[in-house]
Symmetry: C2
Subunit: 115 residues, 2 copies
């Protein structure tokens, strides 16, 4: 996974454990595409200070993931659901029993909501 | 959910964020059914000290859950998978298409592993 995507995901999972500033800067940098200089200017601090706060926040996110593994577990779960979905698509579309077809459609929709 | 069960679950999810002692005492008390006095004796400290450490650990677990909601999310996810499983059981057992029946059995088995 690309580092940016990874940090965005970690931020979603563990963002509430960061300080308000760490969260805001990470969110601005990784999700809202602000540059370090723009964040610095918007907050009246130096570019280096922004960089330090972001680095510290990233470090904390990776430490939480190392301990709790929620990103890894979520990804494993999603992978398994994707596998189940592809199992279900092996069932031929021209099911003679229309009731079965309706239930399977519903089930696929619900599974898709979980990934 | 019963408080004991809830704390056991929170301990599984967030235990790695507790101190070693907090985790050990919570585990002994809630999962291994030791009494406060027994834990005190095994660790050469007072019963009150054990109680304080356990209370502090519990407080931290609830604070993490309040912020991260992983227990709530896990339970919601499990509930949805249970619903999907009961949808699938509506499909009559005497499916004429044996291939479909085999796939559905496999899918149900995989879904059961997720709850």
């Amino acid at each position: 996974m690309e580092k940016n995507v990874q940090i965005s995901m970690l931020c979603q999972l563990y963002g509430k454990l960061l300080t308000k500033k760490q969260y805001e800067f990470l969110d601005d940098y990784y999700n809202n595409d602000y540059s370090l200089s723009e964040i610095a200017e918007n907050n009246n601090i130096t570019r280096q200070a922004v960089r330090d706060i972001i680095k510290k926040g990233e470090k904390k996110l990776f430490e939480y993931e190392e301990k709790l593994l929620f990103m890894k577990k979520t990804q494993n779960q999603e992978k398994k659901i994707q596998d189940i979905l592809s199992e279900l698509t092996k069932i031929k579309a021209d099911l003679s029993d229309k009731q079965v077809a309706i239930i399977l459609d519903e089930v696929k929709k619900e599974l898709n909501c979980l990934v």
